[in-house]
Amino acid sequence: MPNQLNNALTLFFSLLVEAIPFLLLGVTFSSILLLFVNEQRLVAAMPRNPLLGALAGSLVGFLFPVCECGNVPVARRLLMQQAPASVAVGFLLAAPTINPIVIWATWTAFRDQPEIVVLRVLFSLIIATLIGWVFSVQKDLRPLLQPSLTRLMPEPQPQLAMAGGVSSPLLRSGTYLMQGSGQIVSLEATATYGLPLPNPVKKPWSAKLRLLLENIIQEFRELGAILVLGSAIAAFVQVAIPREVVLSLGQGPVTSIVAMMVLAWVVSICSTVDSFFALSFASTFTSGSLLAFLVFGPMIDLKNISLLLTVFKPRAILYLFGLAAQLTFVLTLLINLYLG
Protein backbone atom coordinates (compact mmCIF):
# COMPACT_ATOMS: atom_id res chain seq x y z
CA MET A 1 0.00 0.00 0.00
CA PRO A 2 2.77 2.53 0.78
CA ASN A 3 4.17 1.53 -2.60
CA GLN A 4 0.88 2.33 -4.30
CA LEU A 5 0.81 5.74 -2.66
CA ASN A 6 4.40 6.30 -3.59
CA ASN A 7 3.69 5.42 -7.22
CA ALA A 8 0.70 7.70 -7.29
CA LEU A 9 2.77 10.57 -5.90
CA THR A 10 5.63 9.97 -8.31
CA LEU A 11 3.18 9.90 -11.20
CA PHE A 12 1.48 12.99 -9.87
CA PHE A 13 4.68 15.01 -9.65
CA SER A 14 5.99 13.64 -12.91
CA LEU A 15 2.83 14.79 -14.69
CA LEU A 16 3.09 18.19 -13.03
CA VAL A 17 6.79 18.67 -13.69
CA GLU A 18 6.21 17.69 -17.30
CA ALA A 19 3.10 19.83 -17.76
CA ILE A 20 4.06 23.00 -15.91
CA PRO A 21 6.64 24.18 -18.47
CA PHE A 22 4.05 23.74 -21.21
CA LEU A 23 1.41 25.42 -19.12
CA LEU A 24 3.77 28.35 -18.59
CA LEU A 25 4.50 28.42 -22.30
CA GLY A 26 0.76 28.34 -22.92
CA VAL A 27 -0.19 31.15 -20.55
CA THR A 28 2.76 33.23 -21.73
CA PHE A 29 1.76 32.85 -25.37
CA SER A 30 -1.82 33.48 -24.44
CA SER A 31 -0.84 36.62 -22.49
CA ILE A 32 1.31 37.87 -25.34
CA LEU A 33 -1.62 37.26 -27.63
CA LEU A 34 -3.76 39.24 -25.23
CA LEU A 35 -1.48 42.25 -25.27
CA PHE A 36 0.35 42.28 -28.54
CA VAL A 37 -1.99 40.72 -31.05
CA ASN A 38 -5.10 42.47 -32.11
CA GLU A 39 -7.53 39.62 -31.62
CA GLN A 40 -10.40 41.67 -32.88
CA ARG A 41 -8.61 41.99 -36.18
CA LEU A 42 -7.73 38.31 -36.16
CA VAL A 43 -11.29 37.36 -35.37
CA ALA A 44 -12.56 39.79 -37.98
CA ALA A 45 -10.30 38.20 -40.56
CA MET A 46 -11.86 34.79 -39.96
CA PRO A 47 -14.22 33.65 -42.67
CA ARG A 48 -17.89 33.94 -41.68
CA ASN A 49 -18.84 30.82 -43.59
CA PRO A 50 -19.27 28.21 -40.84
CA LEU A 51 -17.32 25.46 -42.59
CA LEU A 52 -14.47 27.72 -43.69
CA GLY A 53 -14.49 29.40 -40.29
CA ALA A 54 -14.13 26.06 -38.56
CA LEU A 55 -11.28 25.12 -40.86
CA ALA A 56 -9.58 28.48 -40.36
CA GLY A 57 -10.05 28.21 -36.58
CA SER A 58 -8.49 24.75 -36.68
CA LEU A 59 -5.48 26.11 -38.54
CA VAL A 60 -4.99 29.11 -36.25
CA GLY A 61 -3.23 26.69 -33.91
CA PHE A 62 -0.26 26.97 -36.21
CA LEU A 63 0.25 30.53 -34.97
CA PHE A 64 0.04 29.55 -31.31
CA PRO A 65 2.17 26.56 -30.38
CA VAL A 66 0.31 25.67 -27.22
CA CYS A 67 -0.85 22.27 -26.05
CA GLU A 68 -4.20 21.50 -24.51
CA CYS A 69 -3.19 23.12 -21.24
CA GLY A 70 -2.69 26.38 -23.09
CA ASN A 71 -5.34 26.41 -25.79
CA VAL A 72 -8.33 26.67 -23.47
CA PRO A 73 -7.50 30.21 -22.29
CA VAL A 74 -6.90 31.26 -25.89
CA ALA A 75 -10.19 29.76 -27.04
CA ARG A 76 -11.91 31.40 -24.13
CA ARG A 77 -10.56 34.76 -25.18
CA LEU A 78 -11.46 34.20 -28.82
CA LEU A 79 -15.03 33.68 -27.63
CA MET A 80 -14.88 36.88 -25.61
CA GLN A 81 -13.70 38.62 -28.76
CA GLN A 82 -16.87 37.43 -30.45
CA ALA A 83 -15.21 34.85 -32.60
CA PRO A 84 -17.85 32.73 -34.32
CA ALA A 85 -18.54 29.44 -32.57
CA SER A 86 -17.14 27.53 -35.53
CA VAL A 87 -13.78 29.32 -35.24
CA ALA A 88 -13.51 28.98 -31.46
CA VAL A 89 -14.52 25.32 -31.34
CA GLY A 90 -12.34 24.47 -34.32
CA PHE A 91 -9.43 26.12 -32.58
CA LEU A 92 -10.20 24.48 -29.25
CA LEU A 93 -10.15 20.99 -30.72
CA ALA A 94 -7.40 21.30 -33.31
CA ALA A 95 -4.89 23.71 -31.79
CA PRO A 96 -3.29 21.17 -29.45
CA THR A 97 -2.45 19.00 -32.45
CA ILE A 98 -2.19 21.35 -35.41
CA ASN A 99 0.82 23.29 -34.26
CA PRO A 100 4.49 23.14 -35.20
CA ILE A 101 5.83 21.82 -31.89
CA VAL A 102 3.41 18.92 -31.71
CA ILE A 103 3.85 17.95 -35.34
CA TRP A 104 7.60 18.03 -34.88
CA ALA A 105 7.37 15.86 -31.75
CA THR A 106 5.13 13.37 -33.51
CA TRP A 107 7.53 13.24 -36.42
CA THR A 108 10.42 12.56 -34.05
CA ALA A 109 8.55 9.69 -32.46
CA PHE A 110 7.13 8.13 -35.62
CA ARG A 111 9.88 8.77 -38.12
CA ASP A 112 9.55 5.24 -39.44
CA GLN A 113 5.77 5.50 -39.74
CA PRO A 114 5.23 8.90 -41.39
CA GLU A 115 1.63 7.95 -42.16
CA ILE A 116 0.88 8.32 -38.42
CA VAL A 117 2.06 11.94 -38.50
CA VAL A 118 0.11 12.80 -41.63
CA LEU A 119 -3.06 11.03 -40.53
CA ARG A 120 -2.91 12.58 -37.07
CA VAL A 121 -2.93 16.06 -38.58
CA LEU A 122 -5.53 15.14 -41.17
CA PHE A 123 -7.97 13.46 -38.75
CA SER A 124 -7.63 16.24 -36.18
CA LEU A 125 -8.42 18.78 -38.90
CA ILE A 126 -11.40 16.82 -40.17
CA ILE A 127 -12.87 16.25 -36.71
CA ALA A 128 -12.26 19.79 -35.44
CA THR A 129 -13.71 21.30 -38.61
CA LEU A 130 -16.79 19.08 -38.52
CA ILE A 131 -17.49 19.74 -34.85
CA GLY A 132 -16.86 23.47 -35.30
CA TRP A 133 -19.35 23.34 -38.15
CA VAL A 134 -21.90 21.56 -35.99
CA PHE A 135 -21.50 24.12 -33.21
CA SER A 136 -21.96 26.97 -35.68
CA VAL A 137 -25.62 25.97 -35.92
CA GLN A 138 -25.97 27.40 -32.43
CA LYS A 139 -25.81 31.07 -33.36
CA ASP A 140 -25.65 32.30 -29.80
CA LEU A 141 -23.24 30.09 -27.90
CA ARG A 142 -23.93 31.65 -24.54
CA PRO A 143 -26.44 29.09 -23.24
CA LEU A 144 -23.61 26.55 -23.56
CA LEU A 145 -21.00 28.68 -21.78
CA GLN A 146 -20.24 29.28 -18.14
CA PRO A 147 -22.00 32.38 -16.76
CA SER A 148 -18.65 33.71 -15.52
CA LEU A 149 -17.53 33.88 -19.14
CA THR A 150 -20.77 35.07 -20.72
CA ARG A 151 -20.85 38.04 -18.37
CA LEU A 152 -17.74 39.28 -20.11
CA MET A 153 -19.03 38.66 -23.60
CA PRO A 154 -20.73 41.36 -25.57
CA GLU A 155 -24.32 40.89 -26.61
CA PRO A 156 -24.54 38.91 -29.83
CA GLN A 157 -24.43 41.05 -32.90
CA PRO A 158 -27.87 42.04 -34.05
CA GLN A 159 -27.68 40.22 -37.35
CA LEU A 160 -26.77 37.00 -35.56
CA ALA A 161 -29.53 37.37 -33.02
CA MET A 162 -32.07 37.95 -35.72
CA ALA A 163 -31.66 34.69 -37.53
CA GLY A 164 -34.77 34.10 -39.52
CA GLY A 165 -36.27 37.39 -38.43
CA VAL A 166 -36.19 40.85 -39.91
CA SER A 167 -33.35 41.17 -42.37
CA SER A 168 -32.02 44.65 -41.63
CA PRO A 169 -30.65 45.33 -38.17
CA LEU A 170 -31.78 48.93 -38.55
CA LEU A 171 -35.37 47.78 -38.33
CA ARG A 172 -34.83 46.76 -34.72
CA SER A 173 -35.44 49.16 -31.92
CA GLY A 174 -32.45 50.70 -30.19
CA THR A 175 -29.69 53.11 -30.98
CA TYR A 176 -27.15 52.36 -33.69
CA LEU A 177 -23.85 53.72 -34.80
CA MET A 178 -22.92 53.91 -38.43
CA GLN A 179 -19.30 52.95 -38.88
CA GLY A 180 -17.01 54.16 -41.62
CA SER A 181 -17.26 51.03 -43.68
CA GLY A 182 -21.02 51.22 -43.65
CA GLN A 183 -21.27 48.69 -40.85
CA ILE A 184 -24.00 49.19 -38.35
CA VAL A 185 -23.34 48.49 -34.73
CA SER A 186 -25.86 48.55 -31.96
CA LEU A 187 -24.99 51.04 -29.25
CA GLU A 188 -25.62 48.38 -26.62
CA ALA A 189 -23.08 46.21 -28.36
CA THR A 190 -20.41 48.89 -28.48
CA ALA A 191 -20.90 49.56 -24.80
CA THR A 192 -19.34 46.22 -24.01
CA TYR A 193 -17.63 45.27 -27.22
CA GLY A 194 -13.91 45.03 -26.66
CA LEU A 195 -14.22 46.33 -23.15
CA PRO A 196 -12.33 43.49 -21.56
CA LEU A 197 -9.39 44.39 -23.74
CA PRO A 198 -9.05 48.04 -24.49
CA ASN A 199 -7.03 48.33 -27.64
CA PRO A 200 -3.65 47.13 -26.43
CA VAL A 201 -1.59 48.69 -29.16
CA LYS A 202 -1.77 52.15 -27.68
CA LYS A 203 -0.38 51.28 -24.28
CA PRO A 204 3.23 52.14 -23.36
CA TRP A 205 5.66 49.27 -23.06
CA SER A 206 5.94 49.35 -19.30
CA ALA A 207 2.19 49.06 -18.95
CA LYS A 208 2.15 46.19 -21.43
CA LEU A 209 4.82 44.37 -19.50
CA ARG A 210 2.95 44.89 -16.27
CA LEU A 211 -0.26 43.55 -17.76
CA LEU A 212 1.62 40.67 -19.32
CA LEU A 213 2.99 39.74 -15.91
CA GLU A 214 -0.38 40.13 -14.22
CA ASN A 215 -2.01 37.97 -16.81
CA ILE A 216 0.62 35.24 -16.68
CA ILE A 217 0.25 35.03 -12.91
CA GLN A 218 -3.51 35.09 -13.03
CA GLU A 219 -3.83 32.39 -15.68
CA PHE A 220 -1.08 30.27 -14.19
CA ARG A 221 -2.76 30.43 -10.81
CA GLU A 222 -6.13 29.44 -12.16
CA LEU A 223 -5.07 26.80 -14.69
CA GLY A 224 -2.25 25.55 -12.49
CA ALA A 225 -4.59 24.76 -9.62
CA ILE A 226 -6.87 22.89 -12.00
CA LEU A 227 -3.91 21.06 -13.49
CA VAL A 228 -2.96 19.98 -9.98
CA LEU A 229 -6.43 18.56 -9.39
CA GLY A 230 -6.53 16.88 -12.80
CA SER A 231 -3.09 15.34 -12.38
CA ALA A 232 -4.08 14.05 -8.95
CA ILE A 233 -7.10 12.30 -10.46
CA ALA A 234 -5.08 10.99 -13.41
CA ALA A 235 -2.38 9.63 -11.09
CA PHE A 236 -4.95 8.01 -8.85
CA VAL A 237 -6.78 6.31 -11.71
CA GLN A 238 -3.55 5.12 -13.28
CA VAL A 239 -2.50 3.43 -10.07
CA ALA A 240 -5.95 2.14 -9.21
CA ILE A 241 -6.76 0.50 -12.58
CA PRO A 242 -4.19 -2.16 -13.46
CA ARG A 243 -2.71 -1.17 -16.78
CA GLU A 244 -2.81 -4.84 -17.71
CA VAL A 245 -6.59 -4.70 -17.73
CA VAL A 246 -6.47 -1.79 -20.15
CA LEU A 247 -3.86 -3.48 -22.31
CA SER A 248 -5.60 -6.82 -22.52
CA LEU A 249 -8.38 -5.12 -24.43
CA GLY A 250 -5.94 -3.92 -27.04
CA GLN A 251 -5.75 -6.58 -29.75
CA GLY A 252 -8.82 -6.43 -31.97
CA PRO A 253 -9.45 -3.62 -34.45
CA VAL A 254 -12.37 -2.31 -32.37
CA THR A 255 -11.28 -3.04 -28.81
CA SER A 256 -7.79 -1.64 -29.37
CA ILE A 257 -9.26 1.69 -30.46
CA VAL A 258 -11.62 1.79 -27.52
CA ALA A 259 -8.79 0.85 -25.15
CA MET A 260 -6.48 3.52 -26.50
CA MET A 261 -9.18 6.17 -26.35
CA VAL A 262 -9.89 5.28 -22.75
CA LEU A 263 -6.16 5.34 -22.04
CA ALA A 264 -5.83 8.73 -23.73
CA TRP A 265 -8.66 10.01 -21.63
CA VAL A 266 -7.23 8.62 -18.40
CA VAL A 267 -3.54 9.41 -18.83
CA SER A 268 -4.22 13.04 -19.80
CA ILE A 269 -0.74 13.44 -21.22
CA CYS A 270 0.15 16.74 -22.86
CA SER A 271 -0.21 16.73 -26.65
CA THR A 272 3.34 17.96 -27.04
CA VAL A 273 4.71 14.73 -25.63
CA ASP A 274 1.91 12.22 -26.09
CA SER A 275 3.41 10.79 -29.27
CA PHE A 276 6.33 9.47 -27.23
CA PHE A 277 3.89 7.85 -24.89
CA ALA A 278 2.04 6.28 -27.81
CA LEU A 279 5.34 5.07 -29.20
CA SER A 280 5.74 2.65 -26.32
CA PHE A 281 2.54 0.91 -27.43
CA ALA A 282 3.42 0.89 -31.09
CA SER A 283 4.20 -2.81 -31.33
CA THR A 284 1.21 -4.14 -29.40
CA PHE A 285 -1.48 -1.83 -30.65
CA THR A 286 -2.99 -1.35 -34.07
CA SER A 287 -2.03 1.79 -36.02
CA GLY A 288 -5.65 2.89 -35.89
CA SER A 289 -5.69 2.74 -32.12
CA LEU A 290 -2.45 4.74 -31.87
CA LEU A 291 -4.05 7.34 -34.10
CA ALA A 292 -7.13 7.33 -31.92
CA PHE A 293 -4.91 8.02 -28.93
CA LEU A 294 -3.10 10.84 -30.71
CA VAL A 295 -6.21 12.43 -32.17
CA PHE A 296 -8.65 12.03 -29.30
CA GLY A 297 -6.34 12.61 -26.32
CA PRO A 298 -5.49 16.25 -27.08
CA MET A 299 -9.14 17.10 -27.67
CA ILE A 300 -10.66 15.88 -24.45
CA ASP A 301 -9.14 14.13 -21.48
CA LEU A 302 -9.57 13.86 -17.75
CA LYS A 303 -7.23 16.74 -17.08
CA ASN A 304 -8.61 19.25 -19.52
CA ILE A 305 -12.24 18.56 -18.74
CA SER A 306 -11.62 20.61 -15.65
CA LEU A 307 -10.04 23.29 -17.85
CA LEU A 308 -12.93 23.11 -20.30
CA LEU A 309 -15.31 23.69 -17.41
CA THR A 310 -13.90 27.20 -17.18
CA VAL A 311 -15.44 27.83 -20.60
CA PHE A 312 -18.33 25.46 -21.23
CA LYS A 313 -21.23 24.13 -19.27
CA PRO A 314 -21.13 20.35 -18.72
CA ARG A 315 -23.78 19.80 -21.39
CA ALA A 316 -21.60 21.39 -24.09
CA ILE A 317 -18.59 19.37 -22.98
CA LEU A 318 -20.70 16.25 -23.29
CA TYR A 319 -21.55 17.20 -26.89
CA LEU A 320 -17.90 17.90 -27.68
CA PHE A 321 -16.84 14.68 -26.04
CA GLY A 322 -19.49 12.57 -27.77
CA LEU A 323 -18.87 13.99 -31.23
CA ALA A 324 -15.08 13.84 -30.93
CA ALA A 325 -15.18 10.28 -29.62
CA GLN A 326 -17.50 9.01 -32.34
CA LEU A 327 -15.68 10.70 -35.19
CA THR A 328 -12.30 9.52 -33.91
CA PHE A 329 -13.65 6.01 -33.56
CA VAL A 330 -15.12 5.86 -37.06
CA LEU A 331 -12.07 7.37 -38.80
CA THR A 332 -9.51 5.22 -37.01
CA LEU A 333 -11.63 2.09 -37.45
CA LEU A 334 -11.52 2.74 -41.20
CA ILE A 335 -7.72 2.78 -40.94
CA ASN A 336 -7.70 -0.48 -39.01
CA LEU A 337 -10.05 -2.20 -41.42
CA TYR A 338 -8.78 -0.93 -44.75
CA LEU A 339 -5.17 0.16 -44.27
CA GLY A 340 -4.00 -1.85 -41.25
Binding site: L9, P21, L152, A235, S280, T310
Partner: protein, 256 residues
Protein backbone atom coordinates in the same frame (compact mmCIF):
# COMPACT_ATOMS: atom_id res chain seq x y z
CA UNK B 1 -12.03 54.69 -0.92
CA UNK B 2 -10.42 52.61 -3.60
CA UNK B 3 -7.07 53.03 -1.94
CA UNK B 4 -8.36 51.89 1.38
CA UNK B 5 -9.85 48.76 -0.09
CA UNK B 6 -6.64 48.07 -1.95
CA UNK B 7 -4.43 48.35 1.08
CA UNK B 8 -6.66 45.95 2.97
CA UNK B 9 -7.21 43.29 0.34
CA UNK B 10 -4.81 43.27 -2.59
CA UNK B 11 -1.44 42.68 -0.94
CA UNK B 12 -2.56 39.44 0.69
CA UNK B 13 -3.81 37.95 -2.52
CA UNK B 14 -0.69 39.10 -4.35
CA UNK B 15 1.61 37.79 -1.67
CA UNK B 16 -0.15 34.43 -1.73
CA UNK B 17 0.24 34.33 -5.52
CA UNK B 18 3.91 35.15 -5.26
CA UNK B 19 4.47 32.55 -2.57
CA UNK B 20 2.79 29.88 -4.70
CA UNK B 21 4.89 30.81 -7.74
CA UNK B 22 8.06 30.98 -5.66
CA UNK B 23 7.31 27.60 -4.10
CA UNK B 24 6.88 26.02 -7.55
CA UNK B 25 10.07 27.63 -8.80
CA UNK B 26 11.84 26.12 -5.79
CA UNK B 27 10.28 22.70 -6.33
CA UNK B 28 11.48 22.60 -9.94
CA UNK B 29 14.85 24.00 -8.86
CA UNK B 30 15.14 21.37 -6.13
CA UNK B 31 14.38 18.50 -8.51
CA UNK B 32 16.91 19.96 -10.92
CA UNK B 33 19.76 20.51 -8.46
CA UNK B 34 19.29 17.28 -6.49
CA UNK B 35 19.03 15.17 -9.64
CA UNK B 36 15.61 13.91 -8.54
CA UNK B 37 14.31 15.07 -11.88
CA UNK B 38 15.86 11.84 -13.16
CA UNK B 39 13.07 9.93 -11.44
CA UNK B 40 10.36 12.05 -13.04
CA UNK B 41 11.38 12.99 -16.57
CA UNK B 42 13.17 11.83 -19.66
CA UNK B 43 16.45 13.78 -20.02
CA UNK B 44 15.21 15.30 -23.29
CA UNK B 45 12.55 17.22 -21.39
CA UNK B 46 14.54 18.25 -18.34
CA UNK B 47 15.62 21.56 -19.83
CA UNK B 48 11.96 22.52 -20.09
CA UNK B 49 11.43 22.00 -16.39
CA UNK B 50 14.70 23.77 -15.59
CA UNK B 51 13.81 26.70 -17.83
CA UNK B 52 10.38 26.83 -16.22
CA UNK B 53 11.94 27.18 -12.76
CA UNK B 54 14.08 30.09 -13.96
CA UNK B 55 11.13 31.66 -15.71
CA UNK B 56 9.01 31.41 -12.56
CA UNK B 57 11.82 32.99 -10.54
CA UNK B 58 11.96 35.83 -13.05
CA UNK B 59 8.21 36.36 -12.83
CA UNK B 60 8.36 36.34 -9.02
CA UNK B 61 11.27 38.79 -9.06
CA UNK B 62 9.59 41.21 -11.47
CA UNK B 63 6.28 40.99 -9.69
CA UNK B 64 7.67 41.50 -6.19
CA UNK B 65 9.74 44.40 -7.51
CA UNK B 66 6.51 45.91 -8.73
CA UNK B 67 4.69 45.13 -5.52
CA UNK B 68 7.32 46.82 -3.38
CA UNK B 69 7.50 49.72 -5.76
CA UNK B 70 3.83 50.20 -6.39
CA UNK B 71 2.62 52.83 -4.06
CA UNK B 72 0.80 53.96 -7.13
CA UNK B 73 -2.27 51.89 -7.68
CA UNK B 74 -1.94 49.06 -10.14
CA UNK B 75 -4.79 49.47 -12.56
CA UNK B 76 -6.45 46.37 -11.24
CA UNK B 77 -9.60 47.26 -13.09
CA UNK B 78 -7.74 46.73 -16.35
CA UNK B 79 -5.84 43.68 -15.29
CA UNK B 80 -8.78 41.83 -13.80
CA UNK B 81 -11.88 42.57 -15.75
CA UNK B 82 -11.90 39.05 -17.08
CA UNK B 83 -12.31 37.38 -13.77
CA UNK B 84 -13.55 34.09 -15.04
CA UNK B 85 -12.57 31.81 -12.22
CA UNK B 86 -13.81 28.28 -11.75
CA UNK B 87 -12.16 28.19 -8.33
CA UNK B 88 -11.86 31.18 -6.03
CA UNK B 89 -8.45 32.78 -6.75
CA UNK B 90 -7.11 32.47 -3.22
CA UNK B 91 -8.20 28.82 -3.16
CA UNK B 92 -6.24 28.23 -6.38
CA UNK B 93 -3.17 29.88 -4.88
CA UNK B 94 -3.52 27.81 -1.74
CA UNK B 95 -3.75 24.54 -3.69
CA UNK B 96 -0.67 25.46 -5.70
CA UNK B 97 1.20 26.54 -2.58
CA UNK B 98 0.24 23.46 -0.58
CA UNK B 99 1.21 21.01 -3.32
CA UNK B 100 4.48 22.85 -3.91
CA UNK B 101 5.36 22.79 -0.21
CA UNK B 102 4.63 19.08 -0.20
CA UNK B 103 6.76 18.73 -3.33
CA UNK B 104 9.64 20.41 -1.52
CA UNK B 105 9.55 17.81 1.22
CA UNK B 106 8.71 14.79 -0.94
CA UNK B 107 11.44 12.75 -2.57
CA UNK B 108 10.08 10.90 -5.59
CA UNK B 109 10.82 7.18 -5.60
CA UNK B 110 11.34 5.18 -8.76
CA UNK B 111 8.84 2.44 -9.46
CA UNK B 112 9.46 -0.99 -8.02
CA UNK B 113 8.88 -4.61 -8.94
CA UNK B 114 5.22 -4.66 -8.01
CA UNK B 115 4.57 -1.90 -10.50
CA UNK B 116 6.56 -3.79 -13.11
CA UNK B 117 4.45 -6.87 -12.56
CA UNK B 118 1.30 -4.81 -12.61
CA UNK B 119 2.32 -3.09 -15.82
CA UNK B 120 2.94 -6.41 -17.49
CA UNK B 121 6.63 -7.26 -17.41
CA UNK B 122 5.80 -10.60 -19.02
CA UNK B 123 4.78 -8.81 -22.18
CA UNK B 124 7.87 -6.70 -22.38
CA UNK B 125 9.56 -8.49 -25.20
CA UNK B 126 6.72 -7.63 -27.50
CA UNK B 127 5.95 -4.28 -25.95
CA UNK B 128 9.13 -2.53 -26.87
CA UNK B 129 10.04 -1.47 -30.31
CA UNK B 130 13.36 -0.55 -31.73
CA UNK B 131 14.16 3.11 -31.64
CA UNK B 132 16.69 3.78 -34.35
CA UNK B 133 18.16 6.70 -32.43
CA UNK B 134 19.42 4.39 -29.72
CA UNK B 135 19.65 1.10 -31.49
CA UNK B 136 23.13 -0.04 -32.37
CA UNK B 137 23.77 -3.32 -34.09
CA UNK B 138 27.53 -3.15 -33.88
CA UNK B 139 27.77 -3.14 -30.11
CA UNK B 140 29.50 -5.89 -28.22
CA UNK B 141 27.11 -8.24 -26.42
CA UNK B 142 28.66 -7.45 -23.04
CA UNK B 143 28.13 -3.71 -23.61
CA UNK B 144 24.38 -4.09 -24.04
CA UNK B 145 22.07 -2.87 -21.33
CA UNK B 146 18.85 -4.66 -20.44
CA UNK B 147 16.85 -2.56 -22.86
CA UNK B 148 19.49 -2.99 -25.61
CA UNK B 149 19.13 -6.74 -25.21
CA UNK B 150 15.37 -6.61 -25.27
CA UNK B 151 15.40 -4.49 -28.41
CA UNK B 152 17.94 -6.74 -30.09
CA UNK B 153 15.92 -9.85 -29.27
CA UNK B 154 12.82 -8.06 -30.45
CA UNK B 155 14.37 -7.53 -33.86
CA UNK B 156 15.58 -11.11 -34.12
CA UNK B 157 13.73 -13.31 -31.64
CA UNK B 158 15.40 -16.69 -32.23
CA UNK B 159 16.98 -17.49 -28.82
CA UNK B 160 19.65 -19.78 -30.26
CA UNK B 161 21.16 -16.83 -32.12
CA UNK B 162 22.46 -15.48 -28.84
CA UNK B 163 23.76 -18.66 -27.28
CA UNK B 164 27.06 -18.19 -25.44
CA UNK B 165 27.14 -14.45 -25.93
CA UNK B 166 28.58 -12.62 -22.95
CA UNK B 167 26.17 -10.62 -20.77
CA UNK B 168 26.85 -7.84 -18.30
CA UNK B 169 23.71 -5.99 -17.27
CA UNK B 170 22.33 -4.28 -14.20
CA UNK B 171 18.83 -3.70 -12.97
CA UNK B 172 16.43 -4.45 -10.15
CA UNK B 173 15.16 -7.87 -9.14
CA UNK B 174 11.69 -9.16 -9.91
CA UNK B 175 10.25 -12.54 -8.94
CA UNK B 176 7.80 -13.27 -11.74
CA UNK B 177 5.00 -15.55 -10.57
CA UNK B 178 5.23 -19.21 -11.69
CA UNK B 179 8.99 -19.15 -12.08
CA UNK B 180 11.09 -21.73 -10.20
CA UNK B 181 13.10 -20.58 -7.18
CA UNK B 182 16.39 -20.45 -9.03
CA UNK B 183 15.19 -17.90 -11.58
CA UNK B 184 14.66 -14.18 -11.26
CA UNK B 185 14.27 -11.32 -13.65
CA UNK B 186 16.68 -8.41 -13.93
CA UNK B 187 14.69 -5.42 -15.08
CA UNK B 188 14.59 -1.75 -15.80
CA UNK B 189 11.92 0.79 -16.43
CA UNK B 190 12.14 2.51 -19.79
CA UNK B 191 11.06 6.10 -20.03
CA UNK B 192 9.92 7.72 -23.23
CA UNK B 193 8.80 10.99 -21.74
CA UNK B 194 8.03 10.96 -18.04
CA UNK B 195 7.31 8.55 -15.22
CA UNK B 196 3.69 8.37 -16.33
CA UNK B 197 4.68 6.27 -19.32
CA UNK B 198 7.45 4.21 -17.74
CA UNK B 199 7.24 0.64 -18.96
CA UNK B 200 9.25 -2.31 -17.66
CA UNK B 201 11.60 -4.54 -19.61
CA UNK B 202 13.50 -7.49 -18.24
CA UNK B 203 15.64 -10.55 -18.88
CA UNK B 204 15.39 -13.91 -17.10
CA UNK B 205 18.40 -14.90 -14.99
CA UNK B 206 19.20 -18.48 -14.02
CA UNK B 207 20.99 -18.77 -10.68
CA UNK B 208 23.10 -21.64 -9.48
CA UNK B 209 21.26 -21.63 -6.16
CA UNK B 210 18.18 -20.18 -4.56
CA UNK B 211 17.15 -16.60 -5.39
CA UNK B 212 16.29 -15.74 -1.77
CA UNK B 213 19.63 -13.94 -1.36
CA UNK B 214 18.45 -11.31 -3.84
CA UNK B 215 15.30 -9.67 -2.61
CA UNK B 216 12.81 -8.16 -5.02
CA UNK B 217 13.64 -4.52 -5.78
CA UNK B 218 17.30 -4.89 -4.81
CA UNK B 219 19.70 -3.79 -7.51
CA UNK B 220 22.08 -6.34 -9.02
CA UNK B 221 24.81 -6.54 -11.59
CA UNK B 222 24.65 -9.79 -13.57
CA UNK B 223 27.54 -11.38 -15.43
CA UNK B 224 27.10 -14.51 -17.45
CA UNK B 225 26.24 -15.87 -20.86
CA UNK B 226 23.10 -16.42 -22.83
CA UNK B 227 21.46 -19.83 -23.07
CA UNK B 228 18.12 -20.99 -24.42
CA UNK B 229 15.58 -22.46 -22.03
CA UNK B 230 11.89 -23.08 -21.82
CA UNK B 231 10.60 -21.04 -18.95
CA UNK B 232 6.92 -20.70 -18.06
CA UNK B 233 6.05 -22.60 -21.26
CA UNK B 234 8.01 -20.26 -23.46
CA UNK B 235 11.26 -20.93 -25.24
CA UNK B 236 13.41 -17.89 -24.61
CA UNK B 237 16.86 -16.52 -23.92
CA UNK B 238 17.99 -16.80 -20.33
CA UNK B 239 21.12 -15.38 -18.71
CA UNK B 240 23.09 -18.15 -17.07
CA UNK B 241 24.81 -16.13 -14.36
CA UNK B 242 28.40 -16.65 -13.40
CA UNK B 243 28.52 -13.80 -10.96
CA UNK B 244 25.81 -11.74 -9.37
CA UNK B 245 26.62 -8.73 -7.19
CA UNK B 246 24.37 -6.38 -5.32
CA UNK B 247 24.86 -2.76 -6.30
CA UNK B 248 23.44 0.46 -4.87
CA UNK B 249 20.43 1.90 -6.65
CA UNK B 250 21.73 4.19 -9.39
CA UNK B 251 20.87 7.86 -9.24
CA UNK B 252 19.16 7.48 -12.58
CA UNK B 253 17.27 4.19 -12.44
CA UNK B 254 15.73 4.36 -15.91
CA UNK B 255 16.91 3.47 -19.36
CA UNK B 256 15.79 5.24 -22.47
Amino acid sequence: MANRRRSRYVPWADILDLLALLAWALVLLKYWLTGQLNILLHPDYMWLSNAASLFLLLVVFLRSFRLVQSTRAIPAAIANPRHFTLLPPSFSSLILLAVAVFGLTYTPRPFASDTALQRGITDTLTMTRSQPRQFRLDNQPEDRSVVDWVRTINVYPEPDAYTDQAVDVSGFVIYPPDWPDNYLMVSRFVLTCCAADAYPVGLPVKLSGDRAAYAPDSWIDVNGKMITETLADRRQVVIESTSLTEIPEPENPYEY
